[in-house]
Amino acid sequence: QIRLGQSRFATQRPTNILDLDYSKPKKFRIAEIQAVGLSTLDETAIISLAGLRVDDEISVPGDAISSALKKLWAQGIIGDVKILVTKIEGDDIYLLLELTERPRFSRVEFTGINKTQEGELKDKVSIRGRVVRDDVLNNSQRKIKAYFVDKGYLNTEVKVVQERDTTLPNSVKLRFNVDKGTKVRINEIKIAGNDNIPANKIKKKLKGTKEHPRFYIFKDLVSRITNTTPRTAGEAISYRNPVTEEQIKEYINKNFKLNFFNGSKFVRSDYREDKEKVIAFYNSRGYRDAVITRDSVYNYDANRINLDIDIEEGRQYYYRNLTFSGNYIYDSDQLQAKLGIFKGDIYNKEKLDKRLNYDPQRGDDVSSLYQDDGYLFFTIDPVEVNIAGDSIDIELRIFEGPQVTVNSVSIEGNERTSDHVVMREIRILPGQKFNRSMLVRTIRELSQIGYFNPENIEPDMRPNFEDATVDIVFKLEERPNDQIELSGGWGGLFRFVGTVGLTFNNFSIKNIRDFSKWRPLPVGDGQKVALRVQANGRSFQNYSISFTEPWFGGKKPNALSVGFNHSVQRQIDMWNRQNFGADMGSFKITGVNVGLAKRVTWPDDYFQVSNSLQFQVYDFDRYGNFFGLTYNTGTARSIALNTTIARNNIDNPIYPRFGSNIILSSTLTPPYTSMNRSINRESPDEVKYQWLEYHKWMFDASLYTPLFGSNKLVFSARTHLGFVGSYGNRIGIIPLERFVLGGDGMNMMNFALGQEIIGLRGYENQSITPGRDFRGQPGAPVPYGGVVYNKHVMEVRFLVSPNPSATIFLLGFAEAGNNWGNYAEYNPYDLKKSAGFGARIFMPAFGLLGIDWGYGFDEVPSIANPNPGRSGGMFHFTIGQQFR
């Protein structure tokens, strides 16, 4: 008998060993295979699993046997296996599979955890059907424990209970009893040895390891008072001990920790990374030798731990001589100027790398000189050639390489979006010299079309040294981009308001007919379909549908849009008991519009010009006097041509950090009064406004810039201006399409049809509107709404969570605006001011949701209340991106 297989548990060697020459494998034919030692398993099945068959030709020793063993072990269902040769007759070989069966796990259960955790753990611990072995058990236990430790339950204990499963022979039921205990939080982080950098700065670098919030100042004061002796009291009162700023900071740091946004759980892997960050931070301050000499984690009480971190800072280093070598195209002075780091500066490896390789803030680092001009293989390697005292000499070794041409550009990962929708946005093209800034711009623009996760757009360069070309593959990851808006809210006078809105941002009209391409809707051609219904019963309803093809004709980014909308506003009698709910009048607007927006390349290629033609019917049913019209029931119509010129180069639509957005628009109707000379000021309103005649101009500019070089703190300034006018003075300015200022600025909350709603936080909705007091009076002395308005906004925004599935930011604002009923009163310095703060959350499915608290500093006079006070503080809720 020959033992061929390596047995894991075999200790004894078979007695009669056939002599086989291991150095000369020989070919045999399998004459017979048998398996022994089986009770629940099936012989044929096992032999089949081994992948051996009678009449197979195998070489012994050889691959066939070892692969058979491997396959059997891989199943995880046997306790042990040996493959033995029982007989050799000429070229025939007789094999015997000697198996040992062991009990197998038939069921796995958990106690002490919830359903979600159980679901996740069942995937991690998939041992059902496998053989009972200690290593399998230990491994599973470890996995379960690690799972909870990662969630901050450091004291998790896992016990295993094994039971015979009576439903199946030779099997075991398994129960993991998990006691996860309470979450362990970090009480305090003690940092020692930091002579030059204060502890709170270092703690800030521990991004994933934060102290528990604490607020001990009262406790501390009480203990100080109770422990005060007359002598120390005297000291405290006479200010004999000067207090340094550092001491104040230290005191505050010790007694407050208002860390409510960050959890204080302890995750070992995060902590490891955080320690590296601390060292990197030291390195960036010139402490090139800084090390953590010791750190320990120990229990403070049952649920809290303390961390000690001891640092040895070493000395601070400075640059001495910076020399370039290997540069032929640019001389050292040019490179030095681009680098922007000079002799005597604090040694900062991080900044050096940034300035050499890639500076995300400005993109004008040393590499950009070369890589924007085709030198893709350009590398620059800083070498410390000499360290003397606190001075470091650096030689910057350059490899310039050849100028590289782009050979092909392609995309990967577009599982829903058609190639051409993405490819047409790519700015780097075959035949061009490689250009890094074009590449960066392409990435930015691909993230702006919204179909892909902006954090995961990765260009993969596949260079070919021989002919100096490169193939670029953009790796993309699709993300859901459709928005569903389901909201309900209390809208003041109008009570409950419900909205259902659906926006499909990547629609495909072409695929509508082919049901097999629906996933779950026809998608992929980058077209946009938006449907929206908004209602609160009978008193207000709005229906709209629009379709946009962003590349009409497929050659240029000319967006064609078609839209239809219909709104109704009714006055319902709520007070009359006999006639409850009677319709006391309604106002309807029905409109269609067609528009074409063009991207242009002059003056630069961030510009867009759009034109749209809209036709609207304003239908009053016992409602006209709300606008100060002399008639109650009737119809007005308008045809207007809108032209908009916009320049937009903001870097990210959700949380802009750089760039500006400037929009100038005009809306013009034909001059009916010049065509029909019989109309004049004395004509009845039915005639004057049969076809509305007006021109309206709007200007909006917003600017974004990061503060202190941070990518979280952003300053934004906006200014808005608009006015409505008439052609000549024959009938004056129309009472419709005027400005209504104040409040949240949301159309849906104001129910103001036929008007332009502009928000001003800190004031009630519509409160800053001329003619407000006369609303509803027929032929009112002043029509409702302003003809010219101004608004200026300053905001400081702070990004709390950049997570694309829920982007959250906070903001503080100061704004001012006013709205005038005629040009004679217009005074751009007489503005209503307000300030406040708020928060925004963006979720892909819901869009942008916001809440603001604003305080209005100025009073809003009205006839009803001739001596009002300040407008005061109030909350505003917003849904969607507020444009003005």
Binding site: T40, L41, D42, T44, A45, I46, S48, L49, G51, L52, R53, K71, Q75, I77, I78, R104, S106, R107, R128, G129, R130, D165, T167, L168, S171, V406, N407, S408, S410, I411, E412, G413, N414, E415, R416, T417, S418, D419, H420, M423, R424, L429, P430, G431, Q432, K517, G524, G554, K555, K556, P557, R599, V600, T601, D605
Partner: protein, 290 residues
Amino acid sequence: CGEFYKLEKSTNWDELYDAANRYYDKKEFNKAIILYDRVLPVIRGSGKAEMAEFNYAYAHFRTKRYIEAAGYFKTFFDTYNRSPLAEEALFMNAYSLYLDSPDYNLDQRSSRDAVNAIQLFMNRFPESDSYERALGMIDDLQKRFEEKAFQESKMYYRLTDGLFPGEFYRACIINFQNFAKSYPDSKYNEELGFKLVEVSLAYAERSVFAKKEDRLKETITFGENFLKRFPESGYGKKVSNLLSKTQTELESYYKLKEDYEKRTAEARRLIEEEEARNRDAADALKSAEN
């Protein structure tokens, strides 16, 4: 449904196994999958396992979960590669991937996986009855890749009418040549070959003076290659026209160049004369001063 609910909770493995097979036979594949999920780990290594695993993969296939089905067919093949069902499993692995691979205008990575799987099947079972079918699948996928590349070329061509014509002319010149390299036998080569001549002429015409000559010559090369390769082509006449146009351009370029050189020489001569005169005048002035 009550019966199925009871089964879901049952620990009577034989009953579960029979029920799973019964649901499978009744074509209630979703229910079969749920029961197989429970029973498979337990029966592994028994005589029942092989058929159950095969059915399990098929149940996924029948419910159009092609990715999963492909995975289970592959596992089946790897586990039971001596089984009489192994051939079918490997084919079904390839076929599932083939069915799952998307339209030409989407990411084709999974189509490439399908090609690899089909190739594996064809290498492993060259005698198979499904060999022809597999070959057809590969052909179909290759056509899809070709179509994708052609649509890309067409897009570049279309965008030469867009905002940045110059950039796209050059992109077309590179892209069309790459297409011909990747798909030498494609029926689209004739059309693209013609467009290459057209585009390269347009590109040359827009070029700065210094680069015009090379680019016009390149157009001539493209045109002559086209006529050589497609002598019977319907585009032949158009290409000849473009070629003669290019030739004229080239000649007028040479004329212009000659003229330009003459004029530069003339201008240079005049400048030199002027300088000489100035020098003489200065010398005269100097000697007069002295």
